[in-house]
């Protein structure tokens, strides 16, 4: 292919793709940092005895799981400023939309994990006089983490690829950068390169997740 013979072009392609990958990773990391705890909070609300809290949580999950992420992204960037009359930064809108959406999924994964812990664990903690906080942080949560690793791993890897949606509010993540070069150079080589970049990222993540899973393999 002619494109490959022009090294300066290949270099600029790579640097553009690298820049795009950094944006992709930034959205990915920020989303995780906030969505993981927020998901837990929503899950706790869902499981709380208060009808109001669990109702709110159910409504939250219903909305964010029930509408396309793309739509939520567009609402966040174009809708919210319209209603509130304020300007919102593109990156901020993107991360906010992603973390709210992913928190809904994470909360359901947490719930599955928490509800799969046998009742006997709570009873043992109770008769040992452990407080609710100690029971949750030292007994339940560590076991939940092991149980939810596989479904969480799925979501965490899906998130890498979902970040491509931010093109809709003109953030230049990896796929958008590839498309720009495709349009400029009239070749599809950049798409192939984008695939390789995505595979590198998800491949490294898969490895990392395997390491973490092995760390938890010491007990059943």
């Amino acid at each position: 292919m002619e494109f490959f013979q022009d090294f300066s072009k290949l270099g600029s392609l790579l640097s553009q793709m690298l820049g795009g990958s950094l944006v992709t990773l930034e959205i990915w990391a920020l989303t995780l940092v906030f969505a993981l705890p927020l998901g837990l909070l929503i899950c706790m609300m869902r499981l709380s005895k208060s009808r109001i809290l669990s109702g709110l949580s159910k409504a939250y999950i219903f909305y964010f799981r029930g509408t396309p992420l793309m739509l939520q992204l567009l609402f966040m960037f174009f809708g919210v400023p319209l209603v509130l009359g304020l300007k919102i930064d593109r990156m901020f809108a993107a991360v906010l939309a992603f973390l709210l959406n992913y928190a809904a999924y994470f909360s359901e994964i947490y719930r599955g994990g928490i509800q799969s812990i046998p009742k006997g664990q709570y009873e043992a903690a109770h008769v040992l006089g452990l407080s609710g906080k100690v029971t949750f942080t030292k007994i339940i949560l560590p076991q939940v983490v092991k149980r939810i690793l596989p479904p969480m791993g799925n979501e965490i890897i899906t998130l890498v690829k979902d970040t491509a949606l931010v093109y809709a509010i003109a953030i230049n993540e990896l796929l958008m950068e590839a498309k720009i070069v495709v349009m400029r150079e009239s070749t599809i080589v950049p798409f192939v390169a984008a695939a390789v970049f995505y595979l590198i990222m998800t491949g490294l993540l898969t490895k990392l997740l395997n390491v973490v899973e092995r760390k938890f393999a010491y007990y059943r």
Binding site: Q121, E123, A124, V127, L128, G129, L130, I139, Y219
Partner: protein, 251 residues
């Protein structure tokens, strides 16, 4: 030292405890026996506050852990409740060890939560308990690496680590293969010989006959008969007790 009066409990419409009384004195070993569904496990769970009760009163040394007032169950304030609750220990049928913690961590976790906990002293006494149940070399193992009998012995040590005054056992050998029940019963016998106060819900008639000083026979949510082992097990006065005993013998 422990007095349960007129304990009543319903699961939906089903009345599983129809007013059960029990008095435990220091050094007592009380075996509660009866057919499955008789309410004996539920009673023990109520005493340990694992089930809410619909009526009745529970006292430890004259201080109530719950009591009935105007048709409602009231508890003392949380700190007092926890302090009283701590005087009871509980061993479950399914062990309920914490799988993600080592044997030693299972034992030390609860004592370490207490104020001014001294880690060295706690670890020392827990090691002592492990030696007592014959598992000194397993302190770094995880529950999944142990046999059922070993797990139940860890569970007993874990309950003892909090220095309870009364230790309750809910069918401690029912989940074990027959060849493993002996090691658990041996530990329990040893505790009895050290004058540990124990309430044991069990199907082990041999253990009840040999170790208990009082046997309580429950059926249909009530105490049918109580007395010394020789009275209840060998010379029951009630027809229902005789039926139960004869069924056991024919098996």
């Amino acid at each position: 030292m422990l007095k349960a009066t007129n304990i009543r409990k319903k699961f939906g419409k089903l009345e599983v405890l129809k007013g059960v009384d029990l008095e435990v004195n220091k050094g007592d070993v009380i075996a509660i026996i009866g057919p499955s569904g008789s309410g004996k496990s539920t009673f023990l769970r109520c005493v340990n506050l694992l089930e809410s009760v619909d009526g009745g009163c529970l006292e430890i040394d004259g201080e109530y852990l719950f009591r009935e007032q105007g048709g409602r169950i009231i508890f003392p304030e949380p700190d007092k409740k926890r302090a009283l609750r701590k005087r009871l220990g509980m061993v479950f049928q399914d062990f309920n060890l914490f799988p993600h913690l080592s044997v030693m961590q299972n034992l030390t976790l609860a004592p370490l939560q207490e104020q001014n906990a001294d880690r060295d002293a706690i670890e020392h006494s827990c090691r002592e308990l492990l030696r007592k149940v014959g598992l000194s070399e397993k302190e770094k193992s995880y529950p999944c690496e142990l046999s059922g009998g070993q797990q139940q012995r860890v569970a007993i040590a874990r309950a003892l680590a909090l220095k309870p005054e009364i230790l309750c056992f809910d069918e401690p050998t029912s989940a074990l293969d027959p060849e493993l029940t002996g090691e658990v019963l041996a530990v329990m016998k040893q505790l009895a010989s050290e004058h540990m106060t124990m309430v044991v819900v069990t199907h082990e008639m041999g253990f009840a006959g040999e170790v208990a000083n009082e046997v309580v026979f429950m059926d249909g949510g009530v105490v049918v008969e109580r007395g010394t082992p020789s009275q209840v097990l060998r010379n029951p006065s009630q027809q229902r007790t005789r039926d139960f005993m004869s069924k056991l013998l024919t098996v």
